[in-house]
Every structure is written in structure tokens, then in C-alpha cells.
């Protein structure tokens, strides 16, 4: 058996990014993947002949351009095509179009509330102030506030400086953003229900919280932190589906001499004499390595693939209490043509954007009530897109693929496991909601893949199907992600590291955790830093 310098567990985008940088530094690296295909939640699969689905993650914005450029992902086949704007359909037959063009958007908001149209400008500026504060920290290790190490002190001082630059008002805003509910936050700016509902949805995406739960304002911010070609907050599609991100990263890993081994299910991380010595596979093989990096979520990492004996009791406790709750499901639908939506011309640029049918915060909160009651939302919140309007590769000409992210879906139904009948009921609630706004939708459905937290956990390995590898609330961010004392990618055992979205700066197809973890590993090995820092915002 080949001896590797480093083994990365899990061929999701962060595992692959981590491996690419370790391999680039000259280490011999293997990425082990449990599934017969790579990607983790960054995956494309053909489940209906001729159609490619982005089965899990479905849009791209947070992927750090510094990493895409440095690892030459375009040369390895990755192209990200932007989409503009979005639309929320109202129950009264009207809609709110969140146009990408600023002036067009102003007119559209004014159609619902003239005052909100103007308030939106203030809102956009305030949000940008906050993203500007956080964005420079995406490609950095979070400083440890309890450490007296020079590097931590320097980083903390920088952090404090950016805070004081904001001034008293800005600082107050920051605290509001990190602690408030998205509902309360939006109520401070807007009066129109549909505007608030359109903007508020991103505050709960991937989070087992409601729009009035404290902390959700940050989740909204998290969705504004990305950028496409310098346009902060813009989103796009990976051409060919999200699997194209993983495929390009895999090519990069291989170009640097790394190995990717599929069907390699890790049983546990082997610790000998207080140090990592490799991994044991479920098939009985053992792969020796001095460095093992887990791309799994913190729960799986510490509770499933590490022996309790090798871990401090306190850490086991923290891992058990780590908030990683299932809240969402997904429908991927093959369509025989482009569906029509009430009141919207098929050439309207809003057709290219994210579509929703929840027109008030009230309905969003009611959808969350169902989750709390242990069932899927009868009137769900969906984030729906049709990427085949700009991507000719994912469906035959004239045909389309629709990706529907659905919230809420609990990890268990009334305390029991999801059944196939439950899944069918969940699917029906979504299809009925879409069909209520699209008369020809049902007749165009050729195939539908429905994934509840049960399928996401079983296939991707995310605990409870939580898309962010742990909720993005302030108690689990920065130096608290995943737990205090372990936020700098190092595990409790020498040679053991974490690189998944459960570490700073969190979930979304960002590749920053994987890159940041690689930087720390290289530092421990006293190798030169080959991981790029972030581009300056100004």
C-alpha cells in the first residue's frame, strides 16, 4: 500500500481544494471518497437520460475567485455563468421582480411601495458595509481571541481596526446583523410584505430557524458575501452543473500529482502514540499517513470516524451539541419545455433568476412552524431556478432542467424516520405550489428526483442533510466554528485537521475552508505558503 504524506477524507469541494494545495506543495496526497463518484454536495448526476442535475448545491457565488484562478479551474473546465435577479410570485397573481439592473429594480419595487424603492438603496449600502467587513476574513484563519501568539494578536488588531473604522453606527449595525432575526432586520427598512419575503428567504436557507429567529440576519449576509467577477453579491451557475466545480478541482489535484480514490469508505482515523498514523477503511485496509484531514462535518468527524478514547471528553460533548439540523430538501426536475409563469414573459430576464412563491414573512414563519411540529411545510418556501436557459449542456435543445431547493423539511417526521410516502407528500406539496403559478408546469414534468434530509444524509453524508455542515449562527462562526479552541483547522490530535464547511468561514461552495486548512497544515510542516490571500476590496 502506497504511503501518503496526507490523506483527505471526502472528495467534496473543500476536500479537493485542500488536497490540491497540499499536492501543489509537493506532498503526496490521496483524497478518499465513500461514493463511486466525487463531489460530495458539489455534484452533477444524470438520473434521467439526457438531463444533468445539480443534485445538491445548485448555484455558485461564494467560490473564491482567488482560488479558482490560482488552481487554474477555468483551464480545467470550470465556467461560471451569472444569472441576474429573481422573482417572487404573489398569491394575487402579481409578482415582485428583483431586477439585476438597478433602475429597473427601483421601478419594480416602487410598483409595490414607492418608499421601499428608495429604502432599498439604504438597505443595499448597509449590507455592503457589512460584507466589506467580513469578506477580507474569508481566506484567513479566524484569530483566536484567547491566544497571546503574535499572529493571533496581529490578526485581532486588524479585526478591531476594521470594526472601529465602521464607527459607532456601523458597529451597532454589525451587532444587529449578527444577532437579529432577518424578519426584524427587514422590518426596519421595508413596509411591503412581498419585498420583505423576497429578501428574507435567504436568511433562512439551509438553516433550521424561522425568519423571526435571532441570528438569521447573518445568514442573509452570508448569501451576499460572494462575488462574480468583482460584482459582490452576484450569483451564477456552474456550466454543466455544480459537479463541474468538483471535476475542475479534481483535475487540479491530479495535475499536481494527487490521487483521488473512490469507493473508499473510511471507518476511522487511526491514532497511535498520541499522533495520527493513517486511516482504516471499512473494507479492512489501512492507509498510513502522518496527516489526515477530515472534510466531513464536525459531528461525523468526531463521533463517527474517531475513537472516543483518542479525544478529550469535552470535545466529544461539544461535537454532540454542535448545531447541525436538517431543514431542507430538494427537487430536481426534468422538463419537456420551458414552463410559463403567471404574468411573466418568457424572455423576461427574471426567468433566469431565482424564483419563489412565498409572498410574506408570515407565510415563511408558518412554513417553519410545520418544521417545529415535526413535518414538512405544507406551504413551503422554495428557491427555484432553471439553469438550462443559459446552459445548453444540461438538457437537450428546447428542454429544461429545474432545480428546486425546498424549506422546510425536518430530519425526522413526527419523531420517526422519513418514509417513501412522506417523501411523496413532501414532493406533492412543492409541485402543487409551483403549479399554482404555472399552468403548464405539471404537464411538462418528465422526471423528478426528490431528496429529503434522509436521502441527503445517506448519499452525501451531511448530518441531517444540513447543507452548511452546521448552522451559520454567531455561536458557531469565526473562532467558534466549529467549537471554541478548534477553530484554526487543527484537530485534538497532532496530524489531524478539519477542512469542511463546518470550519470558518462556513458553508456554501466557497472552497475557503479547504484552502485555509491547507495553509495551516503547510505552516505546521514549515513549508512555504502557496495558498492565495484574498483580493483587496478596495
Amino acid at each position: 500500500m502506497k504511503k501518503y504524506d496526507a490523506i483527505v477524507i471526502g472528495a467534496g469541494h473543500n476536500g479537493l481544494t485542500n488536497a490540491a494545495y497540499l499536492a501543489k506543495s509537493g506532498l503526496s496526497v490521496a483524497v478518499l471518497e465513500r461514493n463511486p463518484y466525487i463531489g460530495g454536495a458539489t455534484v452533477s448526476r444524470e438520473l434521467y437520460p439526457g438531463w444533468t442535475y445539480s443534485n445538491c448545491s445548485y448555484v455558485c457565488s461564494l467560490l473564491r475567485p482567488e482560488i479558482a484562478r490560482d488552481l487554474e479551474l477555468p483551464r480545467h473546465g470550470l465556467q461560471v455563468v451569472p444569472y441576474g435577479g429573481g422573482v417572487t410570485f404573489k398569491r394575487d397573481g402579481d409578482y415582485y421582480g428583483n431586477y439585476y439592473d438597478h433602475n429597473r429594480q427601483y421601478r419594480e419595487v416602487a410598483r409595490h411601495s414607492l418608499r421601499d424603492a428608495n429604502a432599498y438603496e439604504r438597505y443595499a449600502t448597509d449590507v455592503r458595509k457589512q460584507t466589506r467587513l467580513i469578506r477580507p476574513y474569508l481566506l484567513r484563519r479566524p484569530p483566536d481571541p484567547t491566544s497571546l501568539k503574535l499572529r493571533d494578536l496581529r490578526d485581532l488588531a486588524g479585526f478591531a481596526r476594521s470594526f472601529t473604522e465602521l464607527g459607532e453606527e456601523g458597529l451597532a449595525d454589525t451587532l444587529r446583523f449578527w444577532t437579529k432575526s432577518v424578519g426584524d432586520y427587514l422590518n426596519e427598512y421595508f413596509e411591503s410584505d412581498v419585498i420583505k419575503a423576497h429578501l428574507g428567504g435567504t436568511g433562512v436557507i439551509g438553516t433550521a430557524l424561522g425568519v423571526y429567529s435571532p441570528g438569521t440576519a447573518y445568514v442573509l449576509l452570508h448569501h451576499y458575501m460572494g462575488d462574480m467577477d468583482g460584482n459582490v453579491g452576484s450569483w451564477g451557475f456552474a456550466r454543466g452543473g455544480m459537479g463541474a466545480v468538483a471535476a475542475a478541482l479534481a483535475k487540479s489535484v491530479k495535475a499536481f500529482g494527487g490521487d483521488i480514490i473512490c469507493d473508499a469508505d473510511v471507518d476511522r482515523i487511526v491514532v497511535r502514540h498520541g499522533k495520527v498514523s493513517g486511516v482504516a477503511l471499512k473494507n479492512g485496509n489501512e492507509l498510513p499517513a502522518g496527516i489526515v484531514v477530515s472534510n466531513l462535518d464536525p459531528r461525523r468527524t468526531f463521533l463517527d470516524i474517531m475513537d472516543r478514547d483518542d479525544l478529550p471528553a469535552e470535545l466529544v460533548h461539544k461535537a454532540g451539541n454542535f448545531k447541525i439540523r436538517g431543514s431542507s430538501g430538494k427537487l430536481n426536475i426534468a422538463l419537456d419545455g420551458l414552463p410559463t409563469f403567471n404574468g411573466l414573459d418568457r424572455n423576461n430576464p427574471l426567468m433566469l433568476g431565482d424564483m419563489h412563491f412565498t409572498d410574506s414573512l408570515e407565510r415563511l414563519e408558518r412554513a417553519y412552524d410545520d418544521w417545529k411540529a415535526g413535518t414538512w411545510s405544507k406551504d413551503p418556501y422554495v428557491d427555484m431556478l432553471i439553469p438550462t436557459q443559459t446552459d445548453p449542456t444540461m438538457a437537450p435543445p428546447g428542454k429544461h432542467m429545474m432545480t428546486v431547493f425546498v424549506q422546510y423539511a425536518p430530519p425526522r417526521i413526527n419523531g420517526g424516520e422519513w418514509t417513501d410516502a412522506d417523501r411523496a407528500g413532501f414532493e406533492q406539496s412543492v409541485i402543487d405550489q409551483i403549479a399554482a403559478h404555472s399552468p403548464d408546469f405539471k404537464s411538462l414534468i418528465l422526471h423528478c428526483e426528490t431528496r429529503t434530509p434522509r436521502e441527503i444524509e445517506a448519499e452525501v453524508g451531511l448530518t441531517e442533510g444540513n447543507i452548511f455542515q452546521g448552522e451559520l449562527t454567531f455561536d458557531q462562526l469565526l473562532f467558534n466554528r466549529p467549537f471554541p479552541g478548534y477553530a484554526q483547522y487543527r484537530g485534538p490530535v497532532p496530524g489531524m485537521y478539519m477542512c469542511g464547511s463546518g470550519t470558518h468561514p462556513g458553508g456554501g461552495v466557497m472552497a475557503a475552508p479547504g484552502a485555509n486548512a491547507a495553509r495551516e497544515i503547510l505552516r505546521d510542516l514549515r513549508l512555504p505558503d502557496v495558498v492565495p490571500g484574498g483580493y483587496a476590496d478596495d
Binding site: P74, D101, T390, P392, A536
Partner: protein
């Protein structure tokens, strides 16, 4: 044309009715006296139509000259730097032409339509120079700029779109090839050419069938996600593909007032277009001298660190100015920060490390960045589909 009539104001291309209907932004520019759109709906989405699906650009204002007659080939061979005799019938050649001092007057494409029958597409107006060059040759020169309407159809699904429009066999057309189809009683010429660096074609037709061509094209292209694009998207695509723009990346020699402001083909990185084994052509003697004595400048493609485009930057070497940037862009598909630079010799060899002095403004405050950059040997975007015969479906 009557003096003082509307016709002396901005002209409209034969596609104008369709273009205007699609131009949601009402963002108009001018090109050779014609009203042309800078962007239709969203510049970025238009750029990505070129790179992901199919984009359509109205290039009717392009200067087009027909050169025919027994001496057509000989005449053009004397005028341009390339060996015209090696551009077969049914082929198109990119070329430049120089004045006697070996300075580039313009670049353009030469279409070899038939035996001693050529069309020259040029950035600058060239009828007078063509007549100068024709002295003593038995040729006829006609400005047919207004008699030929043209659309560029560019992008990965461009071939699939045109096949769906009924252009049978087009998939066999090689890059820089041209072919003809009949279209509603007119001849539709199709060349596999373009200014985007992607798979793409240009369609040439009589103006009276222009609108019908547009309609058929967009009807056929709908399942292939076709979209019109304006000059802003084109500019981004051509920078990513490494294509020079006359008037931007070099001053056409005959319009340069100050001495030393024009450039030779060698200084523009276009040595491959110069056939020094031709015994005679305009500028040959001067170019021969330049080969012996060395060039003053070198064109360089730069990969610039960071994400701030190096617009109009000075290029520094060891703190001293060695050149300037003529075109720059953050390239969205290649995810590269590219700049075209004119560098003083001996600078600009591939691999040389330089510094771009970049200025940019945020909220009225200017910032200066000294961004390291490297001279790269080839454009950052050059996909295999650009050359594939037959091209794939996307």
C-alpha cells in the same frame, strides 16, 4: 445623399428595426456613423451568451471593399503583408497592410470569393488607399459597405443554431472557410470567422433580406439559447481572446500625427502575418530594415495579479517606465486579469516579470496599486471548440 437631409445624421443598419426592438437598455453607441447598441439587456449576460450559448452581433457597419479583375490577386498581394496567393478560393485570411514606412495602416479580413474576386473587410475606411495601390493594375474596386448586411453568430451553440436554420453541411466548414447557401432568393454567404475567439460564424446577405435572416436565425436559435450582444460584450470577448483592436491597440499609421506613434507588424506581435519571402509588398523594405536593426517596441500579453483591470496603466521594470497598457479587462471565463501592453525593447519576452501601475477609484478616492504581472505567451482563452471540425453541439 442630399446635403442637410436626415441621411447625413446617424445611419441605421439593415437590422435596425430588430436591433432596436431587442435593445431594452437603449444604450446606443456609434460605429462608422451608424447607430449600434453598446448593450441590449445586460452586458454580462451578453458576454456569457458568446461563451456559453450563442450570441448575435450586427456588424453591418464594417467597411467592405470588393476587389475584382484580372490583377485582383496581384494587386492585393502587393498591398497586404500576407501572401495572398496562399489564401485559396473559399478561404478567409486575417492580415494587415502597411504604408511604405512599414507601419500598420489597418488590419482586416480578406475573403477569397472566387478567382480574382476578393472582399476586404477593414476597420478604417480604405477606398482611397486601395485606389493608390491599384495604380497600374487591371482591377475594379467597389465600396460595398452598404450593400452587404452582416451578422456574427458566435458561441458554442452557434453551429447547432445555423444547422437548425437549415444550413446543411455547415458543420464541415473549417475555421476561416467560407461557403454559400441560397436564402429566399438571395445568396447567403457564411464564413467561419469572428472576433470573439470562440466557435463562430459570420453571415453576409443583401440588405433587403436582412430582417428575414434575423427572424429565421432567432427562431432557429431559441432552443440553443441565442441572444443578441452589443459592442461592450464584444470588446470583453476580444480582449480575453487576445485580439487587437485597431484604433485602440494601435494607431492606424495614416492617422498618426505625431512621429513614432504608429507601429510595425513586428511591434504588434503580428510577425506571423508578414511574408518576407514575397519579393514586393508595401512596407517591405522598411520591415527588412527593422528586422536587421531591431524593433522599437514589443506587444505583450500580461497576466496581472489581483482583480483590478490595468486600464491605461504604466508598465514598470525596476521602477522605471517601460511601456503602457492599451487594453485591459478582468476576463470572466478565463478568470484572469489580462492587459495588452506596448513595451519598449528589449522588454516583453515571455516570462518577464513586470509591474503594472494601476489607478482605480472607489467612492471618489483614488488608489494606486503596483501589481506584479508576467508576460504570457498565448491568450488566456482558446478553447478546442474554436477549431473543431465538426464542432460539437455546445
Amino acid at each position: 445623399m442630399k446635403a442637410g437631409s436626415d441621411a447625413t445624421m446617424m445611419l441605421r443598419t439593415p437590422f435596425h428595426a430588430r436591433v432596436a426592438a431587442a435593445c431594452e437598455l437603449n444604450d446606443w453607441g456609434t460605429w462608422k456613423g451608424y447607430t449600434t447598441p453598446r448593450a441590449y439587456t445586460d452586458m454580462e449576460l451578453e458576454y456569457f451568451a458568446i461563451r456559453s450559448t450563442a450570441g448575435v452581433f450586427d456588424l453591418s457597419p464594417m467597411n467592405k471593399y470588393r476587389i475584382t479583375g484580372p490583377d485582383a490577386q496581384a494587386c492585393l498581394n502587393r498591398m497586404v503583408t500576407r501572401d495572398v496567393s496562399r489564401i485559396g478560393v473559399g478561404r478567409v485570411g486575417y492580415t494587415v497592410w502597411c504604408n511604405d514606412a512599414g507601419q500598420v495602416m489597418d488590419d482586416g479580413t480578406l475573403f477569397h470569393l472566387g478567382e480574382n474576386d476578393y472582399r476586404l473587410c477593414a476597420f478604417a475606411r480604405a477606398i482611397d488607399w486601395l485606389h493608390w495601390c491599384a495604380l497600374g493594375f487591371d482591377v475594379s474596386i467597389v465600396d460595398e459597405s452598404d450593400e452587404v448586411a452582416a451578422l456574427a453568430v458566435q458561441g458554442p451553440t452557434s453551429c447547432a443554431t445555423l444547422l437548425a436554420m437549415g444550413l446543411e453541411g455547415l458543420e464541415q466548414l473549417k475555421p476561416f472557410g467560407l461557403t454559400h447557401f441560397s436564402f429566399e432568393g438571395e445568396t447567403l454567404m457564411v464564413s467561419r470567422t469572428g472576433f470573439t475567439g470562440d466557435l463562430g460564424y459570420e453571415l453576409w446577405i443583401a440588405p433587403r433580406q436582412a430582417e428575414l435572416l434575423w427572424d429565421r436565425l432567432f427562431a432557429a436559435g431559441e432552443p440553443y439559447l441565442i441572444k443578441p450582444f452589443g459592442s461592450d460584450a464584444l470588446d470583453l470577448a476580444r480582449i480575453e481572446a487576445g485580439f487587437l483592436q485597431a484604433g485602440v491597440d494601435f494607431v492606424p499609421a495614416e492617422s498618426a500625427v505625431r512621429s513614432g506613434r504608429s507601429r510595425s507588424p513586428f511591434e504588434l506581435g503580428l510577425a506571423w502575418l508578414v511574408s518576407m519571402d514575397k519579393p514586393v509588398f508595401n512596407g517591405r523594405r522598411a520591415l527588412q530594415r527593422e528586422q536587421a536593426q531591431g524593433s522599437r517596441y514589443r506587444f505583450a500579453l500580461l497576466d496581472v495579479d489581483g482583480n483590478k483591470p490595468a486600464h491605461h496603466s504604466f508598465i514598470l521594470s525596476r521602477g522605471g517606465k517601460v511601456g503602457t497598457v492599451t487594453s485591459a479587462a478582468w476576463c470572466p471565463t478565463a478568470k484572469s486579469n489580462v492587459a495588452f501592453a506596448q513595451l519598449e525593447m528589449p522588454h516583453g519576452a515571455v516570462g518577464e516579470e513586470l509591474v503594472a501601475e494601476i489607478y482605480y477609484q472607489r467612492e471618489l478616492q483614488w488608489t494606486r496599486v503596483l501589481a506584479p504581472c508576467r508576460v504570457i505567451g498565448s491568450p488566456v482563452f482558446n478553447p478546442p471548440r474554436r477549431r473543431a471540425v465538426p464542432p460539437g453541439a455546445f
